[in-house]
């Protein structure tokens, strides 16, 4: 019976020191990385046979919709639920994804992503959500661009590989200079999505000032890591190009 060997980068708490721990587990057909973590958790022992605390990770839907299980697998950004152990290099190396403060083991704090969505006004103001409105009949179909932009699952993988988005990794600081840090690819895409579907000029201007302000579009270094990391094929590079064009047009007005 073949065994799977793993190396996991662990950390006990936000202020803890990272350390590696080795595990081994039975190979089973169709096993995903989440399944592997769950198998180990049944009786958590490291490769030396010592009893250890179970590895902490986040997962829920196991089909790529909830965005929970983003991490680094063999050095690459990946969704653990989609990664079949049989298809990966061995030993399997698991690390928390970069660019976010580590909370414990493979769990990171992604609150900054949601904070930045808020700064991008990722909603349409509708006033009262009354149910007395007469239903509308027939609307325009949305463009495939809007459709693709809306498939973002807020996993954070794009930010994790963006060289401009990383907070200082030397310190475990969680008070990153959020106000001036690069807002990142996911937020740019979301900003474009909402500017395309909303017609409220004042809110569109607000979104635009986030784009052209500190931490905005000019911070993008065009590394293009984000696109290959995105598990949902959100058109990140296209968004950045379109937003660049729009920003230039306004500059020349």
């Amino acid at each position: 019976m073949k065994r799977i060997y793993l190396k996991i980068k662990r950390q006990d708490a936000p202020e803890g020191v990272p350390y590696w721990e080795h595990f081994q587990s039975a190979r089973r057909p169709g096993l995903t990385v989440i399944g592997l973590l769950r198998d180990i958790r049944l009786s958590p022992r490291n490769a030396k046979g010592e009893a250890v605390a179970p590895v902490a990770w986040e997962s829920n839907c196991e089909e790529g919709a909830c965005g929970s299980c983003a991490m680094r697998i063999n050095g690459r950004p990946a969704m653990a639920c989609h990664t079949r152990v049989g298809d990966t290099r061995h030993p399997v190396v698991l690390e928390p994804m970069g660019g976010f403060p580590v909370l414990r083991d493979l769990v990171v704090d992604r609150e900054r992503l949601f904070d930045t969505f808020r700064r991008a006004n990722d909603w349409i103001e509708t006033g009262r959500s009354t149910l007395d409105e007469l239903p509308d009949v027939g609307r325009q179909p949305v463009s495939s661009l809007v459709r693709s932009l809306s498939s973002c699952i807020a996993c954070g993988l794009c930010l994790s590989v963006c060289p401009q988005s990383h907070p200082s990794e030397r310190s475990n600081e969680r008070t990153i200079e959020r106000e001036n840090g690069f807002i990142g690819p996911a937020v740019l895409a979301r900003l474009l999505q909402f500017n395309l579907i909303s017609s409220d000029e004042s809110v569109r201007e607000k979104r635009f000032s986030l784009l052209t302000g500190p931490g905005g579009l000019e911070e993008c270094g065009h590394a293009q890591n984000c696109q290959s990391a995105c598990p949902s094929d959100v058109p990140l590079l296209t968004s950045i190009a379109l937003l660049n064009r729009e920003a230039s047009k306004r500059l020349l007005r």
């Binding site: 399944g35 605390a53 196991e62 639920c81 808020r118 909603w123 959500s129 009354t130 609307r139 498939s151």
Partner: protein, 572 residues
């Protein structure tokens, strides 16, 4: 976090919880939204079902009427009809509201809604690619951020509900919750609480919903005096197993596109479903399909390799349509397929997909605990004994909206009876802290993951399809044994930060209690109705059982009573 006590606490950040929070915030009421995970990570994100869309100017009222009749009939007449009627007549406006918020649905070039056939619903069902639930969830999540920015909603992601705080009159005054990172508990005051904690799929192991939904919050409230109703009504769907814990509930949608179920018999493919139901076209209710699969595998022993799987034969000519409709999800499914010249073959088995029962509520979504409301999947209204899949999303949303409205009325009606004494909150907090210490410091040879697994196995074996009273009795005895063994657990994790094992450990006994409620209600309902399948009692028995099961928690085990169904508009 708000500095003054929130007016309303909402527990659960899925579709129904977000809708309730939104409605309250728009009405100017302060909300504290407590959720295990950020809302976009909730089970609602993985919903692939279309929405029953009774839209259109002409004939809207008529089609809402038909929607109502279809829903009541589909629920095998177990649903209270007044809430169903309100839901069906509110659904078109709800659909419109979603679009005003920016949710879009597939439309043709002419702007008309693209519709698909949906299980049990032969009319229009609108959808948004494969991610209808995800899109709506994302939109509502953004709406919540709008109100966060205006100081109306405060979110606590990563908090676990531990218990409701009830005053001496049994009225809800707040909750105790635990920050699942710092493991610190807090008593949070409020004037009302809305529980929106979703389903119970993970009680059975492999399910189509996710690994987080376990009904533990419902069970805790059950123990605190809120009965659960129809807990035995659990819908299974023909699903494609992806992993030990996850199956994809798209079997029926594939069938409506032309896929066929089969298994092997005497060396040849046996299209058993067509033989059992020769005159059917279009998707059948999930419980019919699942029952057929169960009979073929369990009774006839004709599952693949003698197990519980059958196959779905998907014609390759559907590739373009499936890629267009499902995108990345289809890629995931492809990994599970084997190919022949003209077809793909997918493994299929029935898997838990939805909880039709839940906390008992009155027609205004209030539980038996005054000031404590329940919305969405965790409460029992709307679906009766079977869910029309096109109703899943709109009913959750409507329920949340309605719960928000009901809470507004409740708040305007409560008397200025003054603040409860601080000791009430201190005592509640101390009780939960003691429970946590008990879980943390437990000793014995049992471990949490293995006990969980035994519970999942017994529920799958006896409380799923084809329920037998002998098996249900055995299941109850096993659960009682697990309850005793749950006092002898040693945790593997002694960490004091983000200790998931400790957090899960607090949910074990509630999970076991809820399973007892499910099993007891299933045991006593000697008929077959909707999703409740008892081969020894194959007929629906309206004389004895046209009633909701209402289960009360007692220290000696669940006590089941029955309550008449509101049959205001149409009789069976």
């Amino acid at each position: 976090m708000t500095s003054s006590p929130p007016t309303v606490i909402v527990v659960g950040g899925g579709l129904s919880g977000l809708m309730a929070s939104l409605h309250l915030a728009e009405s100017g009421i302060a909300v504290e939204l407590i959720s295990r995970d950020p809302p976009v990570r909730s089970d609602s994100s993985a919903l692939h079902v279309p929405i029953a869309a009774t839209v259109g100017g002409k004939g809207t009222r008529q089609s809402a009427e038909k929607h109502f009749l279809d829903t009541v009939a589909s629920g095998d007449f177990l649903a209270n009809q007044e809430p169903v009627r309100q839901f069906c007549f509110g659904a078109p406006s709800l659909f419109s509201l979603l679009q005003r918020m920016g949710v879009f649905f597939n439309r043709g070039d002419d702007g008309c809604l693209e519709t698909c056939e949906s299980e049990g619903w032969h009319r229009s069902a609108a959808f948004n690619g494969e991610g209808t639930g995800k899109r709506i969830l994302q939109t509502l999540d953004g709406q919540i951020r709008h109100y966060e920015g205006r100081g109306k909603i405060s979110r606590r992601d990563g908090w676990e509900f531990l218990s409701a705080i009830l005053d001496d009159s049994g009225i809800s005054r707040g909750i105790v919750a635990m920050n699942a990172r710092s493991m610190r508990c807090e008593a949070i005051r409020s004037f009302a609480v809305i529980v929106a904690t979703g389903g119970i799929g993970s009680l059975f192991g492999q399910n189509t919903q996710g690994t987080r939904g376990d009904g533990s919050a419902v069970s805790i409230l059950h123990q605190q005096g809120a009965p659960v109703a129809n807990p035995e009504m659990i819908q299974f769907q023909p699903s494609i197993p992806l992993t030990d814990s996850k199956a994809l509930s798209i079997g029926s949608q594939l069938v409506s596109l032309g896929a066929r179920f089969f298994t092997n018999r005497n060396g040849a493919r046996w299209y058993f479903f067509e033989e059992l139901y020769p005159r059917v076209s279009g998707p059948l209710p999930h419980y019919v399909t699942c029952r057929a699969i169960d009979r073929v595998t369990r009774e006839m022993g004709l599952g693949i390799n003698g197990g519980s799987l059958v196959c779905l034969e998907v014609p390759k000519r559907l590739e373009r349509e499936l890629t267009r409709r499902w995108g990345r999800l289809w890629n995931t499914v492809r990994e599970m397929m084997t190919a022949t010249a003209d077809h793909w073959i997918l493994p299929v088995r029935p898997s838990v997909a939805y909880w039709l029962g839940g906390l008992w509520t009155d027609e205004n979504q209030m539980t038996a605990i005054p000031g404590l409301f329940a919305v969405g999947e965790c409460q029992y209204q709307f679906h009766g004994a079977n869910l029309l899949e096109g109703n899943l999303i709109p009913a959750s949303l409507f329920s949340g909206w309605k719960g928000g409205e009901a809470v507004s009325h409740y708040l305007s009606g409560i008397s200025e009876s003054g603040e409860p004494p601080a000791s009430l909150f201190d005592r509640a907090l101390q009780r939960e802290k003691n429970t946590i210490v008990g879980v943390r410091d437990g000793t014995g040879k049992e471990t949490l993951p293995l006990l969980t697994r035994e519970l999942q196995q017994v529920m799958s074996a006896h409380a799923g399809l084809a329920r037998k009273n002998g098996g249900l009795k055995e299941a109850d005895e096993k659960i009682v044994e697990l309850l005793q063994r749950s006092h002898k657990i040693t945790l593997s994790d002694s960490g004091s930060y983000l200790n998931n094992e400790l957090r899960e450990g607090t949910t074990l006994r509630p999970r076991l209690d809820l399973c007892r409620a499910i099993v007891s209600a299933a045991f006593l309902r000697n008929e077959t109705r909707g999703c409740h399948d008892k081969p020894d009692y194959p007929k629906r028995d309206d004389g004895a059982y046209l009633k909701s099961s209402k289960v009360y928690w007692t220290p000696d085990g669940p006590r089941v009573e029955y309550e008449d169904v509101n049959l205001k508009y149409v009789k069976p």
